[in-house]
């Protein structure tokens, strides 16, 4: 193919494909919680059986042989898997740095001791308040007690206390209280991560998106708190990308460093990729990780730049943000090859600004009233809601 055939600058020669440095194993979709902002697929209840222990161990060996080194164990709630300790032990023996991403539900003293002995390197505890738990927390009841005990265990076993809190319209006004809670837990690192709109969060987007005023108040509160605890706590505030004008460099480009495996063995170039149309994701049951990473059409689909459309194709920033998030492009515009509409150069940018404007209108109430019951219906992630939800229109019709 000659360069003259392309309307824009010729795509660069494909750089050498590096190893999948980051491996994420979503061990199960089962979860004791029902978070309205979960990014798991909304039809998770229809997915096939979970991989057996031996399959996960084989995936670990194959990925490590390629050079994978950071391992995330996630879900659902990974502690639901009774073989978690065996998976951690194998991963540690292979030389992975093993991160457990958990709600803390089920993290007993016996289990943390076993996980420590197996070689677990790190625990990220999420404060996964759905609105039910938010109310629970705000009234200092059971959730707070549970989290507090788990946090103490994490510290007792010599792990840094890393807390992740997902923010949205219903809790963002309480960021000060959330930070005080984190301080009370002895957290050294707190990630205040605004919701990203995939899966269940996408279904609930219009109820979860904060207003710009809420966001600015929360950032100001965070900054004051940050100054007070400087040297003791590090706080990261992740702004929701709907409020940006340039997209995130999602996964540093699909197929560049990240490989995720879903509970049923489907291999994905990002957490949410199984929603993308026409992407035939391979299963680790059928194909080895080397073939999946280097040779599968799904992992090569968004490598390089030849898949890009305008305005990305000729944009000087395409090597910086890779056109943003493919899943967001698909959810908002119906075409995963489009520019991520977060970008104000995208012809579809108004889809983002109109969502923000709706949130703005909905967020006019008094600051303290944001967590009050609202008329819109939030759909909680659970097995019962999982199937009916997907019977509706394709997501791009929103």
């Amino acid at each position: 193919m000659s360069a003259a055939a392309h309307p824009g600058p010729p795509p660069q020669a494909s750089p050498r494909i590096g190893p999948p440095l980051w491996l994420l194993l979503e061990l199960t979709y089962r979860c004791p919680l029902h978070c309205v902002f979960c990014y798991n697929p909304t039809d998770f209840a229809r997915t096939g059986a979970e991989l057996a222990t031996a399959d996960w161990l084989r995936v670990l060996r194959e990925a490590r042989a390629l050079g994978a080194v950071q391992l995330g164990l996630s879900g659902g709630e990974p502690l639901v898997r009774e073989d978690l300790e065996a998976i951690v032990a194998e991963a540690h023996g292979l030389g992975f740095y093993v991160n457990l991403i958990t709600s803390g539900v089920g993290l007993t003293r016996a289990r943390i001791a076993a996980l420590k002995a197996a070689g677990l390197d790190h625990i990220q505890l999420s404060f996964q308040d759905s609105t039910r738990e938010l109310n629970d927390f705000l009234s200092s009841t059971r959730t707070f007690e549970l989290k507090s005990q788990v946090a103490a265990l994490i510290r007792e076993y010599g792990y840094p206390m890393v807390l992740n809190v997902v923010l949205h319209r219903l809790n963002i006004d309480h960021v000060g209280q959330i930070l005080e809670m984190a301080e009370a837990f002895g957290a050294q690192y707190v990630e205040l991560a605004n919701t990203q709109y995939y899966g269940w969060a996408w279904l609930n987007r219009d109820q979860l998106l904060p207003s710009r005023a809420q966001l600015e108040r929360a950032e100001a509160v965070t900054q004051r708190f940050r100054e007070r605890v400087a040297g003791r706590m590090q706080i990261y505030f992740v702004v929701p990308d709907y409020f940006e004008t340039r997209p995130k460099a999602c996964m540093q480009g699909l197929g560049s460093v990240f490989l995720a495996v879903a509970p049923d063995g489907i291999a994905m170039p990002c957490h949410a990729a199984r929603m993308l149309p026409g992407l035939e994701l391979p299963s680790v049951r059928d194909v080895d990780i080397r073939t999946i990473w280097y040779d599968s059409p799904a992992f090569n689909r968004f490598r390089g730049q030849s898949w890009m459309k305008e305005p990305c194709r000729s944009c000087p920033e395409r090597t910086k943000d890779f056109g943003g998030c493919r899943c967001q492009a698909y959810l908002l515009t119906g075409d995963p090859d489009n520019a991520d509409p977060v970008c104000d150069l995208s012809p579809h940018h108004s889809l983002v600004t109109s969502a923000v404007a709706r949130a703005e209108a909905a967020g006019q109430g008094p600051p303290g009233g944001a967590a009050a019951p609202r008329e819109q219906v939030l759909i909680f992630r659970d097995h019962r809601t999982s199937i009916p939800v997907v019977a509706g229109d394709p997501p791009a019709h929103r």
Partner: protein, 92 residues
């Protein structure tokens, strides 16, 4: 920190891990949900920071291994930087 004595014993900080990665042909420093790929001199220094060797030992070992002299200033500067980044900590 620049006036620390040669007798300090730097070690890879608690919770972090340093290892050689053949796929990257480099030492990498692993920490919660992240990784730094070290260049060859940083890798050579960090891999000697085991909490038993003193700064003076590390300099001597590097000079011997690489057949060079006068590395003390550069090694110290890197150790100071790595302490600031909390990649290293000092052991008694």
């Amino acid at each position: 920190m620049t006036d620390m004595p040669d007798t300090v014993r730097p070690a890879v900080a608690h919770g972090l891990r340093l290892q050689w990665e053949p796929a990257q042909e480099a030492h990498v420093l692993l920490y919660p949900e992240g990784m730094v790929k070290l260049n060859s001199s940083a890798g050579a220094i960090m891999s000697r920071c085991d909490g038993t060797r003193t700064l003076a030992d590390i300099v001597a070992d590097l000079e011997r291994s690489y057949g060079m002299s006068g590395l003390a200033t550069d090694v110290r500067a890197f150790v100071v930087l790595a302490l600031q980044k909390r990649w290293l900590e000092l052991r008694e």
